[in-house]
């Protein structure tokens, strides 16, 4: 056991250094992802998906992140993994305990991507050869998969097929399209549909479910005038995306994509919760808003922290009757993960509390829950991976 812990610590902490040696001529010549994405299985096992330079590995912990199994490689051959600051390899567990890993690669130097998935039906001992999520090879990025309440796997991503089509027809096309597909048994993901054209192209997506067959996706949209504010689409049924509901009018007019994506949670009472970053003319910084239901408008945004603390990377999680919200901010010396909890569907929140800190590089803070409680899941350069239980707070 001690050996296993030592081995895992080694893998987690020195992977970057090792990587420099075996695949690079010169240190820093290829950018690398620094992320860890968690998921709990129904039996309480914690799974982590991590990129290791040119491959994706999965690790398993049965003691809440204190020790991990030896890594299992998902990608049999080296791949040119997407290292974008808002991209992430992820792992999802279906109700039967089977695993779905999703990740993106770069196809070229122009950041054209390809989204892949691999499955394990043997408790993570082995994975199927990674397959593209969609047949079209133009470009996909920021893939995210989730399991709906009926156990079906839904994937959504930003897709550039319509950019290519428009270009071929001599037309302009701003941004990318929000694409989606449902998993279809052994065949993999079924046909791809486009939910919306002209979304912002390089921010992560947020995914939650309003019910079986009813994904709710939050994304940075392009509103008229190249205003890159946030919108939510809730599906009426598995094939029918609803209209875009604007989360707030921040009026961030920018001809670029800020690599800062939003987060969404749908609570048990059907209320919607969104947190996001903006540098708009109307407001700047990190914000939260709630909506009573899938059709009602969002409340006035509430600021989280101050703009001069670089608040960023919010994450929301609904867990039983509770809502958890974390983000990171910087005080000139340390990065802190700040946490708020609400017990009344986001109407009132606890005072922000620091649950973890670091004085070096860090991944985005993420939230994950088992049957008992919610945890902060955070990878930092100095401390390695940490799973921190979020205690009770009045």
């Amino acid at each position: 056991m001690r050996l296993l812990i030592a081995l895992t610590t080694l893998v987690l902490s020195v992977s970057a250094a090792v990587a420099q040696h075996h695949s690079h001529g010169k240190p820093g010549s290829t950018p690398e992802a620094f992320t860890a994405a968690p998921a709990f299985a129904p039996d309480g096992t914690l799974w982590l998906a991590r990129p290791m330079v040119d491959r994706i590995v999965v690790l398993r912990s049965t003691d809440l992140g204190k020790s991990f199994s030896a890594p299992v490689t998902v990608t049999p051959e080296p791949m040119n993994l997407d290292w974008g600051p808002d991209a992430r390899a992820r792992i999802t567990v279906d109700p039967w305990g089977d695993l779905i890993v999703t990740f993106g690669i770069f196809q070229d130097k122009n950041f054209n991507g390809r989204a892949f998935f691999a499955r394990s039906g043997d408790g993570g001992a082995s994975f199927t050869r990674p397959r593209p999520i969609t047949a079209n090879a133009t470009s996909q990025r920021f893939e995210i998969a989730g399991v709906d309440p009926a156990g079906r796997v839904f994937a959504t991503w930003l897709d550039k097929r319509n950019v290519a089509k428009a270009r071929a027809a001599g037309k302009a096309y701003a941004g990318a399209a929000l694409a989606f597909a449902w998993e279809d048994g052994e065949a993999g993901f079924g046909d791809t549909s486009i939910a919306l054209d002209n979304t912002c192209e390089c921010c992560r997506l947020g995914l939650a479910f309003a019910g079986a067959g009813r994904p709710a996706v939050v994304f940075r949209n392009i509103f008229p005038g190249s205003v890159r504010d946030h919108g939510v689409i809730t599906f009426h049924d598995p094939r029918t995306p609803g209209p875009v509901r604007r989360v707030s009018v921040d009026d961030w007019k920018i001809e670029a994509c800020p690599h800062h994506g939003p987060s969404i949670a749908v609570a048990a009472d059907g209320s919607y919760h969104v947190a996001w970053f903006t540098d708009g003319a109307r407001r700047k910084g990190l914000f939260y808003a709630r909506a009573e239901s899938a059709d009602s408008p969002f409340t006035a945004p509430r600021a989280l922290s101050r703009p001069d603390r670089q608040p960023a990377r919010p994450y929301l999680l609904a867990h039983g009757p509770d809502l958890h919200l974390v983000w990171k901010e910087f005080d000139g010396d340390k990065v802190a993960v700040r946490w708020q909890v609400s017990h009344d569907s986001g109407r009132h929140w606890s005072d922000p509390r620091t649950v973890a800190e670091t004085a070096d590089a860090s991944d985005h803070p993420l939230l994950v829950a088992d049957k008992q409680r919610a945890y902060l899941s955070w990878l930092t350069k100095a401390e390695g991976y940490r799973l921190i239980p979020l205690g009770d707070q009045p």
Binding site: E255, A256, K284, Q310, G332, V335, A361
Partner: protein, 162 residues
């Protein structure tokens, strides 16, 4: 002593021919060194990124301005949140006509700290231009810079010279 060595590095870089050398590594404390080395001289610091599409469109405009205005002390800082290949950064600058300009790139993944040292209120949006006059007064141009404004600023610096 350290400042002298640093200046030597900068000078050797700026005297380089049209092809850019690899950017200087920008890490913790680099901003203080950079500002110190340029203190008392009007300087334009342009923050850009290889992963920032509008930055790549904008760079040749800076190349043109640099060729046109010998009074422009231009410093380029590649502020990608994930450190980029120095060779690729140098190639892009050379192609934009900025092979001779002083150039730095973020080499530390603790980008929160690097940004904070430059400006605590900067959340990392690129491009961004910081103009510092001889007295240390700072003018920030967020987003793609209006080159006419930079020209006008340079004119002001020239006329206010003793």
């Amino acid at each position: 002593m350290r400042a002298t060595a640093f200046l030597a590095v900068v000078l050797s870089l700026t005297s380089f021919a049209a092809t850019a050398a690899d950017p200087l590594p920008f890490g913790r404390g680099s901003w203080a060194k950079l500002s110190q080395a340029h203190a008392g001289r009007p300087t334009v610091i342009h923050l850009w990124g290889l992963t920032c599409a509008p930055c790549l469109v904008e760079l040749p405009h800076w190349g043109k301005l640099a060729a046109e205005r010998p009074d422009l002390a231009l410093v380029l800082v590649a502020a990608d949140p994930v450190p980029q290949d120095p060779k690729r950064l140098a190639d892009v600058l050379t192609r934009a006509g900025l092979g001779k300009a002083e150039s730095w790139s973020f080499t530390d993944r603790f980008y929160e700290r690097l940004r904070y040292e430059i400006d605590p209120a900067w959340a990392g949006e690129l491009p961004r231009t910081v103009m510092i006059d001889a007295k240390g007064e700072v003018t920030v141009l967020p987003g793609v810079a209006d080159i006419a404004r930079v020209r006008a600023w340079l004119d002001t610096q020239r006329s206010s010279r003793p």
